[in-house]
């Protein structure tokens, strides 16, 4: 199967490619390292969880986040500008009427800065080809049963925008602090393959 980026042959090919680029003078090792460090430094689903917890706690921030995520992120000390150019971020909110789930059918686009490196299943051909066609069945396999009356939107990141799901705040969490709320949020919740 060709749907994973994680195999050793791929890593070996990337290393060869890096060597060729360095040999031919297009880039230096130091430049490559500095780009990778900048992109991956601090890239973790904890960032996404912190955004969600703040949105659950502050209605004004939630509104600004959904309207223009790039402008709202600095309020929690984050940005989408860590890569070669700033990426547009769109945050989509789950509601009682609608569930959102993310995919990149063409490759594996993913908001790395906020969610960390993507899980291997996100890059698998099975997930990418099936979730756009039968999301309800795929989500059930993740253990998430979406009620029939709740609509599903599948966001296929086919261009320059990246997406993140804002899960619904679980019931019975009124007393929790923002830090405690953030601990409830999982990477899968931010992709939409789990409720939170």
């Amino acid at each position: 199967m060709s749907g994973t980026h994680a195999g050793n042959p791929v890593a070996a090919r990337v290393r060869r490619l890096e060597e060729r680029l360095v040999e031919s003078g297009h880039v230096t090792d130091e430049e490559l390292d500095s780009i990778l460090t900048r992109v991956l430094d601090g890239a973790s689903p904890l960032n996404g969880a912190r955004i969600v917890a703040h949105a659950w706690s502050d209605a004004g921030f939630r509104e600004r986040l959904l309207a223009d995520a790039n402008r709202a992120l600095p309020e929690v000390g984050l940005s989408m500008a860590g890569g070669l150019q700033e990426q547009r971020l769109k945050v989509v909110a789950n509601t009682p009427e609608r569930h959102n789930v993310l995919v990149c059918t063409l490759c594996s686009c993913y908001p790395v800065a906020l969610l960390g490196p993507s899980p291997s299943w996100y890059k698998s051909e099975a997930y990418r080809s099936r979730v756009v066609r039968e999301p309800r069945a795929v989500l059930a396999e993740f253990g998430l049963d979406v009620p029939a009356e709740r609509e599903i939107t599948v966001w296929d990141s086919s261009a320059e925008s990246r997406y993140m799901v804002l899960p619904r705040r679980p019931e019975g969490t009124e007393e929790l602090s923002e830090e405690q709320l953030a601990e409830l949020v999982t990477r899968e919740g931010l992709i939409g393959t789990a409720a939170v």
Partner: protein
């Protein structure tokens, strides 16, 4: 080269479509890189948002020195219009040149009896 292709250029091309517009994707099958997925070619959807202007991925992949910079739209498609079944919705981000208005597609629909989705979905 007077313009940088590396940054979005809001003034590069005026948007032809606005949120709420019905659009049809081109039924193309290029033999080079494109970011219009095969499953969404020749399909009708609804513009949700204009996301800004970006260098056309097809041109960038061909290493054009000055790739066309176009508005990119988030377009929502009903699963039924993509697959002939299903109750969900799929959104895609699509460059302007992937899209045409449905006014011309309206004629094409009546003149195109080979559309399997339209035939099979009822």
């Amino acid at each position: 080269m007077s313009e940088s292709a590396e940054q979005p250029q809001p003034s590069a091309a005026a948007p032809h479509f606005a949120p709420g517009d019905r659009v049809r994707t081109r039924a193309v099958d290029p033999d080079r890189h494109t970011r219009l997925p095969a499953y969404a070619r020749g399909r009708t959807g609804r513009v949700l948002a204009v996301t800004g202007c970006w260098p056309l991925a097809d041109d960038v992949a061909q290493r054009c020195a000055e790739p066309r910079v176009e508005p990119v739209y988030t377009v929502a498609f009903a699963a039924r219009d993509l697959w002939g079944e299903g109750a969900h919705e799929v959104t895609l981000d699509l460059w302007q040149s992937y899209l045409e208005p449905t006014s011309s597609a309206g004629r094409a629909e009546t003149a195109d009896p080979s559309d399997p989705v339209e035939e099979a979905s009822t």
